[in-house]
């Protein structure tokens, strides 16, 4: 996709989304689409640090939850409109991301992954003990009546998520083919060689963690409205973190399209299985797919397709 291809595709997706809200009646579709899009943003965000830069973040759920709880804290204080909630969550989680970025100074590989996991536990404990946002027993958020021209609030939330998802894909795509993206790839491949080639590795890693954090926070911001009841256990759910890693891995981490493909595929499969078989089985599905892809196709789906094209060329 070059030139106008990508913007045109984005516009087409927005139009299709709007048509979908007009045509579909069953509210389940919007719930399912919301869940898939939320996972897609998380996967795209994870991939900016995990795929492009090579630092594995196990604490994605914490960024997501802090995004959600930023919304809750603001809503407890005043009737803050949704766009502002998203911005605030992105800001707060961007700052946490910046802090995580400084961890990369001392921690690499598996130690960095453990540190992000630990950060999630610390943040969860904090929220558990913060009674203003409901503490461990959680808090209920009333979904507002106003929903622009849409038939229901969940339809509007779906469109909000669609726009956020397109935005994060656009950021990730721009990043991957830019000078910054090549700098990140150099860091992933060899940090010492990157530094000796003039790449300011710390600065780039900080950009990477901050962008990742902000995106994940934005993905979590509308969550309280979506579920109308949030407790730390559901917001900090490990499954969110696992999905954010599994989806890019299955789709392919080297290319911006990887997490998109992975999230759409795995997310849809999870929804179908939840509805038709059981909600427990979809956890198993992710596990099995992850094992299969890591052993058989470590480059993911996008990697397989590109290899195939190269052979034909």
């Amino acid at each position: 996709m070059r030139g106008w291809g990508f913007p045109a595709a984005c516009a087409a997706v927005v139009v299709a989304g709007l048509a979908f809200t007009e045509l579909a009646d069953n509210p389940y579709y919007f719930n399912a689409a919301y869940v898939i899009l939320q996972a897609l943003i998380m996967a795209v965000a994870w991939n900016i640090l995990g795929g492009f830069t090579g630092y594995v973040n196990f604490g994605s759920a914490a960024f997501f939850a802090v995004g959600a709880y930023t919304s809750i804290a603001l809503l407890k204080a005043a009737a803050v409109p949704l766009p502002l909630l998203i911005l605030a969550a992105a800001l707060v989680c961007g700052l946490i991301g910046l802090g995580v970025g400084y961890l990369t100074l001392r921690l690499k590989g598996v130690y960095f992954a453990i540190a992000t996991l630990a950060m999630g536990i610390v943040l969860e404990t904090l929220i558990n003990n913060w009674s203003y946002v409901g503490g461990a027993k959680g808090t209920a958020i009333l979904t507002p009546d106003k929903h622009l021209w849409f038939d229901s609030y969940s339809e509007m939330l779906f469109m909000v998520m669609l726009l956020l998802a397109l935005g994060s894909v656009a950021v990730s795509r721009t990043l991957s083919s830019s000078r910054l993206g090549r700098g990140l790839a150099a860091i992933r491949d060899d940090e010492v060689a990157a530094e000796c080639s003039g790449v300011p590795t710390l600065r780039l890693k900080l950009v990477s963690t901050t962008v990742m954090g902000a995106m994940m926070g934005a993905a979590g911001a509308p969550y309280p409205y979506f579920v109308s009841y949030v407790d730390p256990l559901s917001a900090f759910n490990l499954f969110i973190a696992v999905n954010s890693i599994a989806m890019p891995m299955i789709g392919g981490t080297a290319h911006w399209a990887g997490p998109v493909v992975g999230a759409l595929l795995v997310g849809s499969a999870q929804e179908v299985i939840t509805v038709t078989i059981s909600s427990e089985l979809n956890v198993l599905l992710v596990g099995i797919m992850l094992v299969l892809f890591i052993t058989l196709a470590p480059q993911g789906i996008v990697g397989l397709v590109r290899k195939h094209w190269k052979k034909r060329a």
Partner: protein, 240 residues
């Protein structure tokens, strides 16, 4: 003539082990300096200190009269210090061409001609005889091409000082000549070169001056002939 690189009183310790001590070294602009010494004598540690991959514990390093002792490596690269690695460290997920775009877009950004990085990278690859490999994955290169890529990537940084760390290790005689040829060409274009090498024949041919390290100290410094004739060098390195 003022030196391009000045190293004074440099020391580097790893815990209780002294890797370098009291190193004083001036490199003149345009010089070809050979750095020899037995394994573990501190050659690579010295260039790690010069390029910034390691920080020295004592002493001062100046480049073009500017103190760079505490500068991070990426800023030294931007000033014009480039190096190749003893064990090639290509950016494995990038193509050969994109490997060169990284230093062109970062290290040489403020200093290179305002040409497109891609064209410039191609020009460097052509001069290294790697043009045919431009769009291949760098991870799949042969040993000699990998070594050439190391040099090409260092060159793409538009260096004033190029430090080549055993660029010829494991290469055949003809391939050594090929790499030497490239280094001579770079030097003729005005780039100062420090060459670390175990292949004595290459060191003798290439260097105007040779410095020999042993156990973290400079034991001899002089023309290649003087150095080879030196009794300490023979005892420590060459074997009498």
């Amino acid at each position: 003539m003022s030196a391009l690189l000045q190293v004074a009183g440099l020391a580097k310790r790893f815990g209780g082990f002294t890797a370098l001590e009291g190193i004083a070294l001036d490199v003149a602009p345009g010089e070809r300096l050979g750095l020899i010494g037995p394994n573990g004598s501190g050659k690579t540690t010295l260039i790690n200190c010069i390029s910034g991959a390691l920080y020295n514990d004592e002493g001062r390093i100046a480049f073009e009269g500017r103190d760079i002792t505490r500068l991070p490596p990426f800023q030294r690269a931007r000033l014009g210090i480039a190096r190749s690695f003893q064990i090639p460290k290509p950016f494995r997920s990038l193509t050969v061409l994109d490997n060169l775009r990284v230093p062109l877009e970062y290290a040489a950004r403020t200093r290179s001609a305002h040409r497109r990085a891609e064209d410039e990278a191609m020009r460097v690859l052509e001069s290294m005889g790697l043009a045919a490999r431009a769009h291949q994955d760098s991870a799949g290169l042969t040993q000699v091409d990998m070594r050439k890529l190391e040099l090409a990537r260092a060159m793409a940084a538009h260096p004033r000082l190029l430090i080549s760390d055993e660029a010829m290790a494991g290469l055949s005689g003809a391939e050594v000549d090929e790499v030497l040829e490239i280094l001579f060409k770079l030097n003729a274009a005005g780039i100062t070169i420090i060459m670390i090498e175990h292949i004595m024949q290459a060191v003798m041919r290439f260097s105007q001056r040779v410095v020999c390290l042993d156990a973290g100290r400079i034991i001899c410094e002089g023309t290649p002939e003087q150095t080879v004739a030196n009794a300490d060098v023979q005892r420590a390195y060459l074997g009498a």
